[in-house]
Point group: C2
Chain length 200, copies 2
Amino acid sequence: MTKRQEQALKTKEKILKEAAKMVAENGVDNLNVDVLTERCGVAKGTFYTYFKHKEDVIFEICRDLFAQIEERMQQMTNKSIVERLAYYFDEFMKEVERYDVNITRAWIRGVIDPNNAPANFDSKKWQYDVEMLENILKNAVKNKELKKNTPVELLTHIIISQLYGMMTVWCMSDCEFEPKEWTKKFCDVQLKAILEKYLV
Amino acid sequence: MTKRQEQALKTKEKILKEAAKMVAENGVDNLNVDVLTERCGVAKGTFYTYFKHKEDVIFEICRDLFAQIEERMQQMTNKSIVERLAYYFDEFMKEVERYDVNITRAWIRGVIDPNNAPANFDSKKWQYDVEMLENILKNAVKNKELKKNTPVELLTHIIISQLYGMMTVWCMSDCEFEPKEWTKKFCDVQLKAILEKYLV
DNA sequence: TAAAAATATTGACTTAAAGTCATTGACTTT
DNA sequence: AAAGTCAATGACTTTAAGTCAATATTTTTA
């Protein structure tokens, strides 16, 4: 990597980091490129060499966040399907909690509107957690942990909607409850109830 | 009501209706006050006599939508708790489906950010469906339909998050599935599973 | 090593759209 | 019918996104 490329990466990183901080502080709607670049000590134009539109920086912040979740999912040990799903939920909410609510708010806003994603990104990427979950369930059927007649697509929908619903309610209540704690309760109460029928 | 008041109401209504149409067509982010007022055949200033900020009109659209759901909930017959909840979900999604996805997107955006609500509105109003659901469950405990030890708050959270999750996933998939159909399946699979434990 | 090419950075500028407000005139009250 | 009220107006101000020709610095080429 040349000196120039290194510098460029550094600049972009600096903008990304400061943007994340500002979104966390004041929400997506109050992210101001003039203020952002001033805080970074760069000119406004510099921002637009790295991001085509203002929104793109938000997209990248969220993408980074959820890329980390995906990575962690790869390390799943060979536990039972219920435990694996509980782990999935737990990790998901843990990651969400690590960042500010405003980042989660931005994420939800991005996710609900496929047209929001910048052109240079595969808009399906917003939805990779859906695929990830579907694969977990599919594999469980393959491994004969779940019955053959398990309605995988329906279960995926139900579980993913529960996950997003949890985030939504968490944002709605302005973080009045602990997602981690609540996830645990949720898994105990609901996940078992819903899967029991299909366990081999 | 004087002639003047009548005229004022008419104008506001016209703006609200056209705004809803425009949001449905192009999403919240593309609502333009200049275009909106031109389409309504009024001056830009007129908009601002009825709405303090641009976002307020969106808030009112959503509020009207969900006020209708609330109204319908009042007419609930004395069926079993499972049936009542199924009815609740069904009506909720039916109403959501009647409007455009972009309205639902706007609703979710409003709901996840309590600071988004205009000053002259009780921000808790965004959350009235949470209270509504909690009351349904509380009454069921009172009427001995549900056991005394039912974790009402937890169940409310779980069910409401499922509801919002469904809306989120519906928006995410760009209406790839029928909410009504899916609600039915969801109620069959999940609602019964989760409540069974607490039914008297 | 020096000239040429490439590209990150700059900030003044353009543009778009939100929001303001003094003025007007139709309706309402006295 | 005179005085008062208030919905409506649209030119104006303000804010902030996005552009781009010029500049500075690094890399490549000869």
